[in-house]
Symmetry: C2
Subunit: 345 residues, 2 copies
DNA sequence: TCACCAAACTAATTTGAATTAGATCATTGA
DNA sequence: TCAATGATCTAATTCAAATTAGTTTGGTGA
């Protein structure tokens, strides 16, 4: 009592060798012609002793740890109100659960810079995992190149241009989705639109803008304004301005900004969507906290995380090219802030 | 290139034995009289090859990996709106960063039951980590006993009664904090109070209730109602009822319920805190999303997580008794929903 | 009666790092 | 001059399981 039983303990109890125990426990009796009676003795002994394989020994022999690294070059759980990675992490966890893998969160933060370097103090911390899912916008291409050179496999969540050759990535069809939205807006009769983006231009935002520009150009819609703002910078006056410019629809990149727009709209006494249609271009994490049933895009972050885990395992098993990448489809949420413009312009 | 270097590769490059490499890498050169020059050669070779220890081999041998396990017997990132573990995980991550440890999130879920068993399919996956922080309310005492028997160390976040002998726990002083609140309520002149709890009675809730009962009994306050409800079950009629019963103050266990109360209060046109004081007994994760500046308790979840990591390391170093436990103090947030009752009863 | 074959098993090795028990060599004291 | 000592390093073993390369035994065919 107190000491875990080993295969050798089972072997002793069943009167066979450790080899036979291993074969029986792994269902290879047929391949090696182990007697059914012997097998039964072994199984009984294993049950009696409460045998549990030592995953560590198994992993040592097999070369895999069943550990998937998750790295973001920054803290995964920010101290701020909402975690950017939240939904993606949920997906990664679900993917790991399904695949029977555990997750390693690398916390090794460079105290001075506040950034996490993979190669810290000459050591590659990530290598304790079989492979890794890399999140975030930070590029650190040099480190990733070095990792890939060493034979370490990883996949990205989010589009990668420069690092695309190093490993697969999973992203979302932002451009196509935003283009689809512009055509919906056009179909309802809107001809003049405005676009409100975040000044901080990370990858997915560039793609959204591309979709917007392509769509509005193709459909011959007038772009009244393309504004880049930070939090708290957009108010009633800006809305007044774009509406004076004739805009009847407004595309808003971030969910936080949607609520700022809502305040401005309320202040101006504007009817939504009668006077102005407003469409969000990102997911709304907590719809119950939203002021409106916004018409918006649903970015499949959870699916992206789960798919990234699957992809990583495929790469590790040699079933997938490291240059492969996938774009998941965004869903359109009709909501109630998009409608036909009050009067045709 | 492409293959992960082993100690033996370093040994070959430096012209020494694998033993010497192991000694040098583990800083035991002084104990075994390894030449400083030889040590330097080994360190250089290790850096050149990009050596990273194989944690599996190390774990098999019984060494430490600077890995802390996190396990909850259920998904850590729930699919629901708010993560119960969120703040605790933030604390654990911070604690790990400070201590230079990485985290392994053990995801092992039993597909059929939806619950995580440590000994799922015979694998004790936790063993890759040096020890673990166990979260959640699920008890699974049998598995924990078995783990402890095997010499695996862990600490709990949240009070444990039955499993208290297995490892230390970190919890919060819920009872004392709620008792303190009842005395504040009493001091303001309230004599009749009501308590609104979640029907789902997990550990911390029991303690809150205990604090409430002790406090109100000592102070001679009348308990108008002690109601256990689920989400969406409390409305204006219930509030009307307790106020008709003379209650001038209402203690509410969960933050979600606070907002339900807010709606009922608005519906009835009740003045808060003039007609009714309302006090929350849990943290409010996102104050900007709250309808009021609620008077409430701040549960130090982040500190609990960080302290749990510290405690685990102390236990692993043999500097702490496995039977030790700690209760962290909750903070009182004055807010603006607690005041003197309108008229003395 | 003996070579041959399959059935039923086992000894030995492997995995990577840590540790125990030596080994080698030069130097020192008597 | 020879044992004793210390400095430096290594061979061998250990951890638990999986796998490779056999070994033993009994039976069959010629």
């Amino acid at each position: 009592m107190g000491v875990r039983p080993r295969q050798r303990d089972i072997a002793k109890l069943a009167g066979v060798s450790q080899t036979t125990v291993s074969l029986a426990l792994n269902g290879k009796t047929a391949d090696y012609g182990i007697n059914a009676e012997t097998e039964q003795k072994i199984m009984d002994a294993a049950r009696e002793l409460g045998y549990v394989p030592n995953i560590t020994a198994r992993a040592l022999r097999g070369g895999r740890n069943r550990l998937i690294g998750v790295h973001a070059f920054e803290p995964l759980f920010p101290t701020g109100r909402e975690s950017y990675y939240g939904e993606i992490l949920v997906g990664i966890e679900q993917g790991a659960i399904v695949a029977g893998q555990d997750l390693v969160l690398f916390t090794s933060i460079h105290q001075h810079t506040g950034q996490a370097n993979i190669f810290h103090e000459g050591r590659n911390r990530l290598r304790i995992a079989d492979g890794a899912v890399i999140l975030g916008f930070e590029q650190h291409d040099d480190e990733l190149v070095r990792l890939a050179d060493e034979g370490f496999r990883f996949v990205f969540v989010g589009r990668r241009e420069r690092a695309a050759a190093l490993g697969p990535y999973v992203s979302a069809e932002y451009a196509a989705a935003v283009r689809d939205i512009t055509s919906r807006v056009h179909a309802l009769g809107h001809r003049k639109v405005a676009y409100l983006g975040l000044r901080d231009r990370a990858e997915p935002r560039v793609e959204r803008l591309e979709g917007f520009r392509t769509g509005s150009a193709e459909l011959g819609m007038t772009v009244v304004a393309e504004t880049w703002a930070g939090a708290g910078e957009v108010g009633a006056s800006w809305i007044r301005q774009v509406m004076d410019g004739g805009a009847t629809a407004l595309l808003v990149e971030s969910t936080g900004m949607l609520e700022e727009v809502a305040e401005g709209v309320a202040e101006l006494g504007i009817n939504m969507p009668g006077d102005l249609s407003v469409i969000g271009l990102d997911s709304i994490t907590d719809p119950s906290a939203a002021s409106h049933d916004w018409t918006h895009l649903l970015v499949p972050r959870r699916e992206m995380g789960a798919r990234a885990v699957e992809l990583l395992l495929e790469v590790l098993d040699g079933h997938q090219e490291p240059t492969h990448h996938e774009l998941l489809t965004c869903t359109f949420w009709p909501g109630s802030t998009l409608g036909a413009p009050a009067q045709e312009v």
